[in-house]
């Protein structure tokens, strides 16, 4: 009986009650009769398990169901492969569909040409945009493998391919996101009999809020995927593999996953020689842009948490684990450094109970030695902190006057950190009075880098990035906040913001608004015409927060507008001469 199964179609199932039936039906409608469908329910808690069971009952012998605990897509596919008995294996994602002739035509091709793998094209259906796009895998049905690896499409997809089952005796998915990238392109370099049918058999439904379109901490797995691809590929195709990776990297770094740019740069460095000597990259002016980043230093993903005589809060650890799964946590308690190895004055401070002072010194010292991000236990970082790793060194304002020293970062051995450390050896007020680092830091930046104490973003001497309070201290704007204070309990749905920052924020908003209105009035005098702002304002009975939101949008528009920027000097001169 088993010998009669030509293709086993494996469908991993997880929380897809709205799509699953469509996917299964598309396989049932296949013209190929000698097939089996293996549904691997990966611990779904919606109606998917019941749907699976219903189909299995309805199609005994044709549809098999495996229920297992949730372990991820790759593991579910592996489970399916183990249960499969078909001559060939195919994968179908449970929210996609396949055209009726797909497996029959691909199987015939496989048998006729004794292929290890047969590929087809992919039709991408952009669900929210109501449009489709067919992505051709290769310009010709005769696959030239090196050229395919270097220039082909759809190489990373598991689902547009039919595989000889024996391939899966030698390969399996790893437990990670982007398990496709980690395995499939590598397989393509190691099996030479590859067939190709130039038809878009596979319908890939692309929706918003899928793994392809949202950001989560685990996405950093993509780095390991690329690493796996490079390391496990056939070395005879090294140049092609590197070029293929470079193209994927380019797209990820500059378009789809810019947030992870620092991680991608670290990967570039890891394979620096391969990227630098690659003949394909050398000829590709677009992809060559990657090489500009190869020597860029990024802040290592290390979190330095100094916590003398107090534990690291659970929520802190959970947050790091969730958003920065690959990060190294340098857990520094009071026993981290033997006391006798600390400078004399730091030992004295510790003896006098100046714990916070010593903590700040130790954090600086480790930051200098290893690079990374100092993150106090009272802080709550989020995924967006990743983008700050592109700085060489960064700090943030806590409010208009004070700097924040519970979250800051630097590359290893940064001279500013060294200079700050040196001040701990000097006879100065900061050491005499055991002043907090933020006092020392602010004065240091004023004196040596002309810091403007105004709570605004600044890039000092093209080296030190200083951020607004909303970036590192308080969550006041979506996609801007990277870290916030979390040591005070507040009701759910609220954000903690200090009086000073709130005042600073509203003053700035109002003064910018007034300035904007003045400019607008100059352009449209005596109220003859309604300004575009007035036209767009909501009805008078809208909630205040909606009005505020609207004002912010308008503010963003005009602040970012070229004309506003260009006319800035003119406005400044006008102000100087007392023009209102």
């Amino acid at each position: 009986m088993n010998n009669q199964i030509k293709v086993s179609v494996i469908i991993p199932v997880y929380q897809v009650e709205n799509y699953l039936e469509r996917a299964i039906d598309s396989v049932l409608a296949q013209t190929l009769e000698e097939k089996e469908i293996i549904l691997v329910d990966d611990g779904s808690y919606d109606a998917s398990p019941q749907i699976c069971d219903r189909y299995a009952q309805q199609y005994p012998g044709l549809i098999h169901v495996i229920h297992k605990e949730n372990d991820g897509l790759g593991m579910a596919r592996n489970t399916g492969v183990k249960a499969a008995v078909g001559e060939y294996i195919a994968f179908l994602d449970s929210d996609d569909t396949v055209e009726p002739e797909m497996y029959e035509e691909m199987y015939q091709k496989a048998v006729e040409e004794d292929c290890d793998i047969v590929m087809c094209d992919v039709k991408i259906i952009y669900v929210d945009e109501n449009r489709t796009n067919i992505v051709s895998t290769y310009p010709s049905e005769d696959i030239d493998l090196p050229d395919y690896i270097a220039n082909g499409n759809n190489i990373t997809y598991s689902v547009n391919k039919l595989y000889k089952r024996s391939i899966w005796e030698e390969n399996q998915y790893e437990k990670m996101l982007f398990e496709d990238i980690a395995l499939i392109p590598s397989i393509m370099t190691r099996y030479f009999n590859i067939g190709y049918i130039r038809k878009p058999f596979y319908n890939y439904f692309r929706r918003a809020n899928t793994i392809s379109t949202t950001f989560v901490g685990n996405m950093v797995d993509i780095i390991q995927s690329f690493r796996n691809f490079i390391d496990t590929s056939n070395p005879d195709y090294r140049d092609e593999v590197i070029y293929c990776t470079a193209k994927q990297l380019y797209w990820n770094m500059f378009q789809s996953r810019v947030l992870f740019q620092a991680d991608f740069i670290e990967l570039l460095k890891e394979y620096k020689k391969d990227f630098l000597i690659n003949p394909y990259i050398a000829k590709d002016t677009k992809i060559r842009k990657l090489l500009d980043y190869i020597d860029k230093e990024v802040i290592p993903e290390k979190f330095i948490c100094v916590h003398f005589y107090r534990p690291i809060p659970e929520r802190y650890l959970e947050q790091i684990q969730t958003d920065f799964p690959n990060a190294i946590l340098i857990d520094v308690d009071e026993n981290y450094y033997p006391i006798e190895k600390l400078p004399k004055n730091i030992q004295t401070a510790l003896e006098q109970g100046e714990t916070a002072y010593v903590e700040e010194y130790i954090a600086l010292k480790i930051l200098y030695e290893q690079g990374g991000i100092v993150l106090s236990p009272e802080m709550h970082a989020n995924l967006y902190l990743k983008k700050l790793r592109l700085n060489r060194i960064f700090f943030g304002f806590e409010d208009e006057n004070e700097l924040l020293t519970s979250c800051y970062g630097a590359i290893k051995k940064h001279y500013v950190i060294q200079a700050l450390l040196d001040t701990y050896e000097a006879n100065n007020i900061y050491n005499k009075a055991y002043l907090p680092l933020k006092e020392r830091l602010r004065d240091f930046l004023i004196i040596h880098f002309k810091l403007n104490v105004n709570g605004r973003n600044q890039l000092l001497k093209n080296e030190i990035q200083i951020y607004l309070p909303s970036v590192l201290a308080y969550d006041m704007k979506d996609n801007e906040n990277c870290c916030k204070k979390s040591d005070i309990q507040i009701p759910e749905g609220y954000e903690l913001i200090s009086d000073n920052v709130l005042k600073m924020w509203s003053d700035r908003l109002i003064s910018n608004w007034n300035l904007y209105k003045q400019e607008l009035n100059k352009k449209t005098p005596s109220g003859n015409k309604k300004s575009p702002v007035q036209n767009n304002l909501p009805n008078p009975d809208v909630f205040n927060y909606e009005l505020d939101k609207r004002i912010r949008e308008v503010m963003n528009n005009y602040e970012n507008s070229t004309s506003w920027k260009i006319t800035k000097p003119v406005r400044a001169i006008g102000k100087l001469f007392g023009r209102q």
């Binding site: 007020i429 009075a433 002043l435 602010r442 004023i446």
Partner: protein, 378 residues
């Protein structure tokens, strides 16, 4: 007494204090005369009391102020005329006769002193400069491009007569002249005899206030220099608890602006600053100044380690010590090598606030910055 005969010239209170100190210490075995001039009007009041002490054989009063004013920036022909008439001038301005002196000690290269150098030019009489504070360490008064009198044949004769300078901190000297820097012993603050004599000479009375933070005003307004010193005073006053802050006005400033603005109480003591340091318990006091030499006196003259906050890094205004590299070097060297543990030069307003708070200023307004550890330690 040995047969060496000494003459000391004092133009200021600081010089008179040093003159008395020298007579009681390094010249205790020599006969000495003292000239006090009217360059500082207060000195004349001290004259009878100086005589009372019997320290000096003669105390001569010299009305040198007008002479100095007339010849300091005079044209060569006027200078020539003046130096030719030295005998007449001396008869006119001195209230007693000069005798022969083996050593003459002076602080200022003013026309009167230069005339003395001409007067004794052919005699084996050495001229020795002694400390007049800040300027003695940094200014080469005899450099020819500095003034016409330095190029005048008689005006520059003093250069031949003076070989050395006595300084409380000779290693602090930054001048580029060829004078040898010699050590002048510091005044021992526990020398009660000296203290009694000085108190008598200057008729010292204890002040009726007890401010812990004393801001020494400088003569910027008298010299027409626009500055931010009043703003700096205000900042200090805001940090220091009420009643603990006082501004000692500079006598040459035409108005007591800090007082008029309500920044300070009235500072009523006219006693020399140095006597204040010598007599009062200054252990817990803090001296604040932009760059007044008086703030350094305690360290230089008495070897005291007084809390001193120098604001010159925060000062805005065109003044010599901001323009002149040697002066800058002097301030740097003093800070690094001589200042001691309680000398502060804040570079930002925030640092100034922290320093004053550390030294005991805890006004409520600025206490916020000390709540810095609250989130961590709680």
């Amino acid at each position: 007494m040995q047969d060496k005969k000494i003459l000391i010239i004092a133009n200021s209170i600081y010089q008179l204090l040093t003159a008395v100190h020298m007579k009681l210490s390094i010249f205790k075995d020599y006969n000495a005369d003292l000239i006090i001039t009217d360059v500082t009007p207060q000195l004349k009041e001290c004259l009878p009391r100086i005589k009372d002490t019997g320290l000096f054989d003669k105390v001569i009063f010299a009305a040198a102020k007008e002479i100095n004013k007339k010849y300091a920036a005079a044209k060569p022909d006027i200078l020539t005329e003046g130096f030719h008439n030295i005998n007449s001038i001396f008869r006119w301005i001195l209230d007693d006769e000069l005798v022969y002196y083996s050593e003459i000690y002076f602080s200022n290269f003013d026309p009167f002193t230069r005339m003395l150098a001409c007067y004794f030019y052919t005699l084996p009489c050495e001229f020795i400069c002694y400390e007049d504070g800040f300027s003695s360490y940094v200014i080469d008064y005899l450099r020819e491009d500095r003034a016409a009198i330095n190029r005048h044949p008689d005006g520059k004769k003093i250069k031949d007569k003076v070989k050395s300078i006595l300084l409380y901190e000779p290693h602090l000297a930054m001048r580029k002249d060829n004078l040898m820097n010699r050590s002048l012993p510091k005044i021992n603050q526990n020398d009660n005899r000296l203290k009694e004599i000085l108190n008598y000479i200057f008729d010292y009375k204890n002040p009726d206030y007890n401010a812990d933070f004393i801001f020494l005003e400088q003569s910027f307004r008298a010299e027409g220099i626009k500055t931010n010193d009043i703003e700096l005073m205000k900042i200090c006053q805001q940090i220091v608890p009420q009643g603990k802050f006082i501004v000692k006005p500079h006598p040459r400033n035409p108005e007591n602006i800090p007082f008029n603005l309500g920044i300070t109480r009235k500072y009523s003591n006219n006693a020399p600053w140095e006597l204040f340091l010598l007599n009062e318990d200054i252990k817990n006091k803090t001296i604040i100044t932009v760059c007044s030499n008086a703030a350094l006196t305690g360290r230089i003259v008495f070897g005291m380690d007084i809390n001193t906050v120098m604001l010159y890094e925060l000062f805005q205004g065109k003044v010599l010590w901001k323009e002149d590299d040697i002066l800058k070097q002097y301030l740097r060297r003093f800070y690094r090598q001589f200042a001691g543990n309680n000398y502060y030069v804040p570079k930002t307003i925030y640092e100034l606030k922290n320093i004053l708070q550390y030294l005991g200023g805890h006004n409520e307004q600025s206490d916020k910055s000390f709540s810095h550890y609250s989130s961590i330690s709680s």
